[in-house]
């Protein structure tokens, strides 16, 4: 296993997760690079591609949190309101992506659990481990995120 092989294998996975967390593609690009550069000094410790994948998800989440922590220190909201996030836009989503557009309007912690649950198909227990939270907290976040999505895209739920 080499880092370049890991890039070939997991580039899309990391990029999608980074994009789900960051407000714009520039930040997502930076996060993507940071994660793989960090992998260089850890790749030898990881025993299988599954370990590499889990490591990449965890580090992407932590680096994204760190990024928001820096934002936070600059008095920019970390636990921002959906409206504010929508105002800050960052990049355009195609009209045929209504669900992703709605998910992007969620606060980061909700976006994260939705992405891991909907796309990476992780269980609540796995999400709890990856995000270092209690399962009850993850369940609560999932519930709130779904409620918010229901309000943001009622037509999707009615269709």
């Amino acid at each position: 296993m080499t880092t370049e092989e890991a890039i070939d294998r997991y580039a899309d996975m990391v990029y999608r997760l980074a994009l789900s967390q960051m407000k714009n593609t520039t930040d997502a690009d930076d996060l993507f690079q940071e994660v793989f550069v960090r992998l260089v000094s850890h790749i030898q410790e990881l025993e299988s591609w599954e370990h590499v994948k889990a490591w990449l998800i965890r580090v992407t989440i932590n680096c994204a949190k760190k990024h928001f922590g820096q934002y936070w220190n600059k008095n920019v909201d970390y636990l921002e309101e959906p409206e504010r996030l929508a105002d800050e836009g960052g990049y355009e989503l195609p009209e045929e992506h209504p669900v992703r557009a709605a998910v992007r309007k969620l606060p980061p912690k909700y976006r994260l659990v939705i992405h891991l649950y909907y796309f990476e198909e992780k269980t609540v227990a796995e999400i709890a481990r990856l995000t270092e939270q209690k399962e009850t907290t993850v369940k609560s976040q999932m519930h709130r995120a779904r409620e918010m999505l229901r309000e943001l895209i009622p037509e999707q739920y009615e269709s």
């Binding site: 890039i7 992506h97 992703r100 209690k134 999707q156 739920y157």
Partner: protein
Amino acid sequence: MGDNHTERQTTEQYVREQYHRETEEIHAPADLINRTKGAVREEEQRIAQNRAAQEQTVPQTSGQQKSGSARAGYVYGRMQRWALPAAAAVLVLLVGASGLFFGRGKRSEEFATDATAQETEAADYDSDGIAPSAETEDYSLDGAALGATTEAEKQAQFERHLQDTGTDTAETEDYSLDGAALGATTEAEKQAQFEKHRQNIEAAESAEADTADSAAAAVPVLESVTFYDKDKKIVEAEALWYNAARIESIQLRWEGGTPATVKVFRTPVGSGTAERTELLLTKSIADGEASVLLNADMLHDGGANSHLFFELDFGAQVVKSEEYNLLYDEN
């Protein structure tokens, strides 16, 4: 009711699949992948260079051990400085005593000659390099003669020295001069060695002091624990109690290293509740971080009044915070 639940599940499944489809269309840009591979290669080179530099450091470490030996040598040398003159003085006394017992025969002269050699060597270590007394000068004479001539010549010189006291003084002076020159040369070398050792000692002591200073500076300390509300304003304690319902995030700052993990514990208020201490969160910390911002969702379960505390695992040392009193009041 059951139909409602099934319908919810169906729509949930639909939204989930829709999100999956939409997200699958996203791919990492090729130029980003190429840039990242370039950055990865640079990082690999940097790590390889660091490793090479570390390997080069190993012989330097041996060098340091060598200077440690030099230091030990210095200690040994310092011991010689006082031990050899003392030994020589003891020998002189013994020779003097043997003279009393056996008279001034040839055998005692030989003893005296040996003692002279020792005394000359002792004089070499003397700081001023000058023989302190006439008796020592005589011994120096013998020692110099011993070093410069054969045994027969030495005997002849000695006989002449005893018989011809008129020329004794001049010869003695000459030999004394030679001895002094010899002593001075040796002394200069010894002084140079001594200076070198002293510098090594000072350097080693300075390095030890630096290490001690840096060790003192690296003592891990939890600098602050701050609670923030949803507006990012500091939540202050009211009569020493913090309202957990208001706390949205907790910031911990530390110094003197980076903890591997930060743990959050909560103990219910009351006596005998220590065994009911609950681990709420374990947070891994990336190298080099000086603070962490924790989400305070874990405090929002409306629990009873409690004490909150934190443990920072710095590896060799676990730093525990003070306990913070928590109550939960949504109003």
